[in-house]
Amino acid sequence: MAATTHIPVGLPETEALSLPSKLHDWLVTVDHKRLGILYIGTALFFFAVAGVLAALMRWQLAYPNSTFLPPEVFNRLFTMHGTTMVFLVGMPFFAGLANYLTPLMIGSRDMAFPRLNAFGYWIFLMGGLLLYFSYIAGEGLAGHGTAPDVGWFAYAPLTERAFSRGTSTDYWILSIILTGIGTTASAINVVATVISMRCKGMTLGRMPLFVWLMLVVSSMVLFILPPLTAGQIMLLLDRYLGAHFFDTQAGGSAVLWQHFFWLFGHPEVYVLMLPGFACASEIIPVFSRKPMFGRAAMIGATIGIGMLSSGVWAHHMFAVGMTTSSNIYFAVASMAVGIPTGIKIFNWLGTMYGGKIRFDTPMLFCIGFLFQFLIAGLTGVMLAVAPFDWQVTDSYFVVAHFHYVLLGGLMFTLFGSLYYWFPKATGKMLNETLGKWHFWLLVIGFHLTFDTLHFAGILGMPRRIYTYAPGRGWEALNLIASIGVIFQAAGVACLVWNIVRTLRKGEPAGNDPWDAWTLEWATTSPPPEYNFAVLPEVRSSRPLWDLKHPEDPDWRYE
């Protein structure tokens, strides 16, 4: 074989289809790229919906004794917001990115199981629609049209029939089981693809970090979804067949549900967050013009996070009355997760250090992510200090903390990835000016909202209250937090407008607009259905660098 890397370019598509046959194509597609786009489009749609729910809640909480929303409506809003963001935004965004990019990055023509892939998407979509169908068909204490109102972690025994009559909780259970099936299908597919479909020369050691992280996330999903699904089925048995797993009035255990839920729920946080890390690990090196600093350490830290995060679930339960030794164990284990997470932040920093940093929109979002995730990580360490957690758990401090992780961390990297890979998927560049407006408005709004809410928690404001009396020191903080929503909404509006505008008349992107190094940039934008006319062969972790710098290729050092 020759010393250079072979990266042939795909052939252009020429067919022009009518609208119905285009739609039909999307419905029956098993192409990983189309399914990836479907996943991401659906995730963005549900993101907008969950954002509207959040805005309604912030409106209600903007001032004390507000009567804008009645309590039962508010309770449904936070249940639907949480469930939507975790199961219908975070998870499908991850599935979409993994689907779209994994085969391109490892130089393969598709995922290992294309039909399973399509099945996964459609069953996930049905799960999502089922959840919202409860607003029409659900029945509960307040009559018909009742969405679930038990909170996104649905603590027993509030979910038992004695306290949650009607069907709204059942919609919640079934929807989560369905989306879980979709996610499992997608995770199996990613693992199988990464293991068996890599192109020639793509050893595990040369695999892009993005793919590595997706492999770890997908393996985690396979381990953590079973406890959740088992818990949901036990709850269904309780509700319909008279089982008493969580029915405390018949000797069931309320705490058992918490263990089942958080055995899933805590690693889930990392399942949501690692795809964010994956995007940052691709974007930061390209825009710093340097390879990832400490690649092996990054992979090790990822696996470390994956393993450690499955042993810390009960830090969500410090207040349930566990023994002293359990509390101390879970506190120390949770702090230990901070070590590999810290290593990651340091390595990103090391990558930027000494580089020539370009501040295009994807990189701006990644820098925002680094700052915000640093703070989120530190408040995370604070919450691991069990005694401090006794004070601030279930308060607005925790609300602010996990929004720092999931909005300030995850959503920022996902927005960054959108700007980064949009040109690849559509062939058109998103507008940079609008992108910068999106970024800065979101930064301002995010900090107005979530910096202040930490203090509300310190001053004793519990989460999930639909109103509060004046005079407890919470009014100004809540008003500022609500004003922040306006900026965040304006930022997201910039993104939507940017996407619409670019799809209609965006500038052509070319194959490799960012001067990047991984295989997806070697094919056309958008890539043909078969991705690569001839499958590539790689000799290092940055095949396009080797191609662009034949005088100084990476493989010389690997």
Binding site: T67, P70, P71, E72, N75, L141, Y155, P157, F163, G251, S288, R289, P291, F293, R295, A297, A319, G321, N327, A331, V332, M335, A336, G338, G342, I343, L349, G354, K356, L370, F371, L374, I375, V381, V385, A386, P387, F388, W390, D394, S395, I458, L459, G460, M461, P462, R463, R464, I465, Y466, Y468, A469, P470, G471, R472, G473, A476, L479, H549, Y557
Partner: protein, 350 residues
């Protein structure tokens, strides 16, 4: 909604509200208030203070990390940004350094060790406290959406307001709480006295308090427990030892039975109220709702939703759903004569 008018006393227009907000923002933690401000960082009892102490160490460590890492990040993006004049050459390609990786692994490990020790110590201090023989014992039972409070050794049953004696250096006074739930999970949280402990059905949890300053400490139910989770307020009222004795003595006796209010009492006892409420010394022995034997000795109605005045009491009895929507006390559809009699009788239960 009438609730709002009665609750806030005056209805404020928007500018008025905004001015109040500005004032609150200016004076971030003002002193006395109808609703005293809780604050994790103003401990008034030993458990909250143990937490406060470890929190200070934790904050110092986190602030230091933030300054160092945040500073490095800021330096990097300023120093290593691409300049307009830069040539197109790529910067030096550095792949990593084992020595640096080891350094930034070992330092966090050391920090975690230090923080773990401090955490373990505080956990033990709060959780493993031995109950002194002279401690006051109380049982708090969470209900949707109110608190039942019992002092088994004193024979007192009350609701939503936990009276405890002040603890002084000369005479330490500990109150040990048993926490239980009658329905779903709740959580007891009064930030200035202690961290949260959940009230979970089927389990008895415990916590302890030794507040040093008299006054009212306000807290909320901190575990989502259904429709009216927001209006499940708990007040801990710290009395001087003498005041506590006086309060206990007034609660131990049977409910007052003013001979002038015979007709009102008879009316009350003839209605469905007695199925859910207890009034000591009468046939009313329901346990589903709060004990009313000394209802007028409490400062609020509906677990903190309204100040306890005769006027508010009447509004509550007339239609509790209009004030605390979704709560488990139904609108009893009393006619105005019945309403007068019930309210007259209840208002006499001091």
């Amino acid at each position: 909604m009438p609730a709002r008018i009665i609750k806030s006393g005056t209805t404020m227009d928007f500018p008025g509200r905004f001015i109040v907000l500005l004032v609150t923002a200016a004076v971030f933690a003002p002193g006395e208030s109808v609703y005293p401000i809780g604050n994790v960082f103003k401990p008034e009892a030993t458990p909250a203070e143990s937490i406060y102490n470890v929190s200070l160490l934790m904050l110092a460590i986190c602030a230091a990390i933030f300054l160092v890492v945040g500073g490095l990040l800021l330096f990097t993006i300023v120093r290593f940004r691409r300049h307009k004049m830069d040539n197109s050459r790529e910067p030096a390609q550095i792949y990593g350094s084992n020595r640096i990786e080891i350094a930034w692994t070992v330092i966090p490990v050391l920090i975690v060790i230090v923080l773990s020790m401090a955490t373990a110590r505080a956990v033990v201090e709060v959780q493993n406290k031995r109950m002194p023989p002279d401690a006051l014992k109380a049982t708090v039972v969470g209900h949707q959406w109110w608190w039942e409070i019992r002092y088994p050794e004193l024979g007192i049953v009350t609701a939503d307001e936990l009276h405890v004696p002040q603890s002084t250096l000369a005479k330490p006074a500990h109150t040990f709480l048993k926490l239980q739930s009658a329905d779903v999970a709740h959580s007891f949280w009064v930030p200035q006295l202690s961290g949260k402990v959940d009230l979970i059905p089927g389990i008895t949890n415990s916590m302890w308090l030794d507040p040093r300053r008299t006054g009212i400490y306000l807290g909320n139910c901190a575990e989502y427990c259904g429709t009216q989770h927001a209006n499940m307020l708990i007040r801990v009222i710290v009395d001087s030892p003498a005041d506590f004795e006086k309060w206990a003595a007034s609660q131990k006796v049977n409910a007052s039975s003013d001979p002038h209010l015979e007709a009102a009492r008879a009316a009350f006892l003839s209605l469905n109220c007695i199925n859910c409420h207890t009034v000591s010394g009468t046939a009313a022995a329901g346990t589903f709702g709060p004990d009313l034997s000394h209802v007028m000795s409490r400062t609020t109605l509906g677990a903190g939703v309204l100040p306890n005045t005769a006027e508010n009491l009447r509004a509550w009895v007339r239609d509790p759903q209009a004030i605390k929507r979704g709560n488990l006390m139904p609108n009893m559809q009393l006619n105005s004569r019945e309403l007068d009699q019930v309210v007259t009788y209840l208002a006499s239960l001091k």
